[in-house]
Symmetry: none
Subunit: 272 residues, 5 copies
């Protein structure tokens, strides 16, 4: 059983027992300013309907207004930096380092925290080091009753062959949960994603990854993720670079929380 | 400016810039089970409309459901115990001791914390000791970005002569703010309460103290407190022992947040 | 919610959801060697059927065999010493001091720990100090997932007038639970003991106190305690000084766990 | 002499002086979800007859019920992660890192802990680092009276030539015991395993490693291990992937605790 | 079970299982320089045949030679100072304070340490404080594996009426053992001293107290102490102020270790 504070904060994310729609705006940590994300405070105000917003450790201070009312989105702060996320530089390893402690993240306003774990690196020692960095996050988060999302992000991201990605994530989600993650964030892997959700003893959140061509695709991805057993989604570019993020969030909530059919929802909200 | 997390948590309490209605259910720490408060979980479910609920450090674990959804009341955990609160035993001193650290309160789910400071004791050393206990709370709360309410509760409570109470609180609120309280909770002192609010550099919350004869009295007390400059109220018995706490909370919110006239609100909600 | 380890250890005490029969053998801390308790190791071997055995911090090293098999009684170690227990010296105050940390108690084999809290002392400062000592135990126990029994033992013990004892314990049990006790141990107060159990948000264990004239009286006391809502009993002299502690424990279990009528059980076990 | 708490916890594992049957369900830390282990809580309920269950640090919170009654299996929590266990990735080194402290493991419910030590690595510095990680576990475990199992797992696992495996384990068991392990867990090495048991000054537990073709083979392996001097076995897949883990555990206990002949036991329990 | 280092050090005191003859030379802490003890280094060299020598914390640095060879007496360092020992000033209370930590005592060469506990003081708070001071010694001594002698020295010393002294020591020895003393040092109380030894779960050492008129009396006191169940004696003035301490020690060893009749031993050694 999680301690009281952690249980409360988890229940706020999955409010009334429903699935969660999370928006990630921490891309700047790796990609710098993506199109549509030049001004972080502006971006964030457009996604205020999310259940939670995932940010870099330096961002809350610039974006506090969106979190500053009762019922505001929960703040999720990223704790570690891993070189494998620097995809644009074709990085091939995954060196994980701590950026901020859980206590300092709480001081920035965090309601939840996230830390990634990337294994099967070119050098075994990287795996071991990454496990150590992740485990330290678990210990800190437990001591403060702050839920920790474990992000399973294979080195090389989603450029793996589908079977390989499935295998790595199937293994990785279980590893990160047995290390103490309270939730897992990972890629939707396709038809066998349900096996991942079934074998992971904590709630799984499916990430959106690259911008999909159409906004209705984003709804469909959400629908298949939830159908496969995910307890929510974590979308970045697919929401932020949408024509109207606010409207897309409304649509996503109908799919994710109320299990509405994505095509009907797309039609209702006039999404292409 | 307070650090980001603290600013966010304060803004959630005063959501949309409005004043706050807080309910205190920590009487058990001093009085044991008061009438109407035998079952803490039941009581708390009846005050779920409050902006925040103030609890003893051992209570969250028994009452977590009320805090477990998005937009739920904020949890305020009391950090210290002071013998002057044991009014039923006619205690005349004020020995303050720590009950729980801010980190442990966060682990129990706290969004804010409260610590009291009682000065002008029979023995000067008590004053000094109490300042030390309070200051340690400030340091802990700051490090975690958790807003700290400083409670100004003169030794002897509200049994002082009115002028004396005014003087002690006028002085005490400024002292506690200068020690680092982010908000102040204290007695409404009457006609000159506005001087207290004016001279206190942080928001003041007025406490309800003993059960008032009529529920409309509770509305009036709230109205004069707000009018004098208080940014909210902290009611215990006046809400919990009401015939219908839920209805009284609705009425109090109209008075406290929307500055409605208490007699009209009493009539609207059919309160005696 | 308690953390996993604490929940597990509590469930072992109330195994299969049944009430608990605990034997206390820590009298030596205050009274020295009572009749029938000259040799602690011998005494303890006679009460191996208890669900748990409560000991002084120096005793486990002399009595480890009774705890050394699967399914053995849980070990409860007392953490503090309070002068009010020194009843034979007619002590009138209650100065509580720590004897052993929770970590050191675990190193001695503790599965649970106990700390007492005595209030309403001749000097208020004693109350405050005792709250501080107790609260430190709560923090230590939580950090290690060790359940903490809070003992409510009014200064003066059970020599109070019945109404006064009822009042003090009614108040004291709520205070200690709001401070963070996971269970409460206290006196059976008579006909209104049910009010205490109802107003205490954690399980209550009734203590046996002085040796009762007849062993069937001990069964009756257990029966009325459980009937009033206690989740178990903590007996010392009434078990240890029994003619056949082993047989009495069997009888007590039928009353406490299976709610059998005490007179029938007394007859079955041939207890006077 | 171990301190009291450690001696008690060891005696509970070897209850009534008999050998121990331990089931390991921590494979997820390296292999992800193995067949037959998709749902950890389900798996664990099928092995409730074990004397102890070995888990990853994140698993107790999902599996607490099996430990939650008097006489339940002891919980063993793994403290470190070593890259050499990631056998499916053909890892050739052994980088050991801490996952959880002994205090945090106790908070999760641990009765015992385990840490591995793999030596003779491609880089000497790895050996030294691993000794440091293991020694830190010894210090923490001693301070809390929690028995520490030292796992001797040569880099490369049991893919060594038999003589080489014998030599490495013969050496490794003595090293780990001299570093302070209270028990040793290692591979059964064949005919000369008795030399290992004889030269290791603490009890040796033989691990089952890969799934054996027939369940009767698992009985035979247990029998030869015990005959050679092992004080128990630690089986994972051989129990979990059995047709009826409960029945196999009954059979294993007859072999391990009562020294019954494995073929007779296989016949009695109708195991192939 | 005590931890290894403590067990080893205890066994060295009771070498070959025999009782111990200890000489105390810490009188200066209370009485200043007693006759025959003007030069501490000289005194100590005359009692080198003792099994152990009990000293004040500042003395080892002046007396190190006697401890500086293999098989030398064990060094016992006193940890606390209690005002009740200042008998020459007719002190009536017992305020116990720490003088030296166990770690610092070890740095001075201590093999064992001693701390006293005096209860039943004019003010209850003194009792509680003394328990706290003693308990802190227990925790320190356990952490370092140093055996701790608990000295039971009623406030007022041996000026009590015999029955009262018997009662206080009977109670006190059990209390100090349940607090965690590894041995007890106390007064020989007369004919019922055997009851004290029987009810104390750790070895009892009988102290010699005031100088007896004749050296043969010292032998007789040792004999009756051992006969009653003491595991050794702690003599100060009776040895130091003897005509030939060395010879008296030889005689005492025959009585204490070999149970020889004191009159025969007195005759053999020509003691008056």
């Amino acid at each position: 059983m999680p301690v009281t504070g952690e249980a409360i904060r988890l229940s706020r994310l999955f409010s009334e027992g429903k699935n969660a729609v999370v928006v990630a705006v921490d891309h700047g940590l790796y990609f710098g300013p993506l199109p549509g994300m030049l001004s972080l405070p502006e971006v964030i105000n457009r996604v205020a309907k999310a259940d939670a917003i995932l940010m870099a450790p330096g961002s809350p201070t610039h974006c506090q207004s969106v979190f500053s009312k009762r019922g505001a989105p929960a703040m999720i702060v990223r704790l570690n930096w891993g070189s494998n996320y620097a995809a644009m530089w074709k990085y091939q390893h995954s060196h994980s380092v701590p950026m901020i402690s859980v206590a300092d993240a709480v001081a920035q306003g965090a309601d939840l925290v996230i830390s990634s774990l990337s294994l099967k690196n070119p050098d075994e020692a990287e795996d071991a080091h990454n496990v150590e960095v992740f485990s330290a996050c678990v210990a800190q988060a437990r001591a403060l009753g702050i839920p920790l999302i474990g992000e399973v992000y294979p080195t090389g991201g989603d450029d793996h062959a589908p079977e390989e990605l499935q295998d790595e994530i199937f293994v990785g989600c279980r590893i990160i949960a047995e290390l103490g993650a309270d939730l897992v964030k990972t890629f939707y892997t396709g038809k066998r994603f349900n096996e991942i959700c079934a074998a992971t003893p904590v709630p799984v959140l499916a990430l959106g990854a690259k911008k999909l061509p159409k906004e209705s695709d984003a709804l469909k991805l959400a629908a298949v993720s939830i159908e496969a057993g995910a307890r929510g989604i974590v979308y970045g570019r697919n929401v932020i670079q949408a024509k109207d993020p606010d409207r897309l969030l409304d649509a996503l909530k109908e799919v994710v929380k109320d299990h509405m059919a994505p095509d009907k929802v797309a039609a209702k909200y006039k999404l292409d």
